[in-house]
Symmetry: C2
Subunit: 252 residues, 2 copies
């Protein structure tokens, strides 16, 4: 899937430098160059993308339990390990329904849900956070990159026996004007056929299929059951079999 | 919801004549006018849209069981009432999962599923048709009209106690350029809060929400459970709460 992103970057005149380690920044008043183990590059602006970690320094000595990626461990009620102390959002853990364990995925959707649930529980309206399935989406120039559930890499790390199927499909009926191709990968449990995850890259209609897959994964659907879904069909919106159903049909 | 369709028609310079009964067509070699109980209109072309009915004349005397709207009654294996005779597609019934009874919705998606299932069962690969939820979509100039599940009218006819909520929401994050408004109605069971159906009209992103709702209804989700879905969020694709979640939050 990464190949398509590289292609788009090249198409947009981005020069990619892969497998180089940054060693130093050069410049006097502001950064003017980046030195790596393979060369030195002039620059106007540097963006350092190294992930996100909760700032929990102020919790030192409180005994509050910290968990995966340094996030504050919460239960489904957003309760921390200390009575009457709640945590929610980017600083807290999220239960991952597919991994079946706590994870740390600091996204606005989870923060909103968890914040609402923490607030309700504080005032004795008991509601639980049902967990995440690992959905995210990003726009990269003309491409949309979406994912939900587990990647093959994640399935591997969890020692889940998985199969995967990758197809290229049109976002709308192939005979309707301006159809765009999308690349779609489904990852499924080899024994149970339960859908583990999906990744899609394309120009249009990626978000729709990710959201349907996210809903399917929320309900622990199998690959085979995807074929039973009654999805909206008319040529400007889809083919008779949605791309996720087309992919599911390839699985034996 | 119909008001929005009328507005779009007027915007597209269509003159609507409502509540008039067609009495005759005029013209010599081809239709040149339409006479109604309220006037006469010149015309170049006439489209008569009065619904679809299966052509079952050739089945007369076979004893094959005919059901709703004159469609051939089939079970989940696509078997008719006569041994070894299968039917599938626009001529056959479809089990409606929300109505919990057979229906006749002649759409390409159902025909494809049923045809595959009939063929498999004929060669002793046993697969069942899991039913429809009543999804359909249509493009009307710049508008998309989508529906799934039951309308209020259908819920009424079935004597199901229902509630409904209607909202106007943006298809993408409200602060992102070119967001479009959609009007969204959710119909739900008053006692159980089970989602009965949804109707959406808008310029963009209607098909996505209809497909998520169709998947939710397939799984008999409640309005409240919609809030738990981990849908893809990034400003070019959605707000933090998807429009269907925004609607669900309005239900007390």
């Amino acid at each position: 899937m990464a190949e398509l992103i590289h292609e788009e970057a090249v198409k947009q005149n981005i020069v990619l430098k892969m497998g180089e380690s940054v060693e130093a920044f050069g410049g006097s008043e502001h950064v003017e160059s980046v030195k790596t183990d393979k060369g030195e590059y002039e620059t106007d602006l540097v963006l350092v993308a190294v992930g996100v970690k909760p700032n929990i320094l102020f919790l030192e000595g409180t005994g509050i339990k910290i968990s995966v990626n340094g996030a504050i461990q919460v239960n489904a009620y957003m309760q921390t390990s200390i009575k009457d102390i709640y945590a929610a959002g980017d600083c807290a853990t999220q239960y991952h329904r597919v991994k079946e364990k706590d994870d740390h995925v600091p996204l606005g959707t989870h923060a909103n849900k968890q914040g609402q649930i923490a607030g309700l529980n504080m005032v004795d309206v008991h509601k639980t956070f049902k967990g995440i399935v690992g959905t995210s989406i990003i726009k990269f120039f003309d491409l949309t990159l979406g994912r939900t559930g587990l990647s093959e890499k994640e399935a591997n790390l969890l020692n889940i026996p998985y199969g995967s199927v990758t197809i290229t499909a049109a976002d709308i009926a192939g005979y309707y004007p301006d159809d765009k191709k999308m690349k779609l990968k489904l990852v499924y449990h080899k024994a149970t056929h339960k859908i583990l995850g999906g990744q899609i890259i394309g120009e249009n209609g990626v978000d729709k299929r990710i959201d349907v897959l996210a809903t399917a994964i929320f309900h622990s659907m199998t690959i085979d059951e995807l074929l039973d879904l009654d999805l909206a069909y008319a040529p400007p919106y889809n083919g008779v079999w949605d791309p996720i159903q087309q992919a599911a049909r390839r699985v034996k």
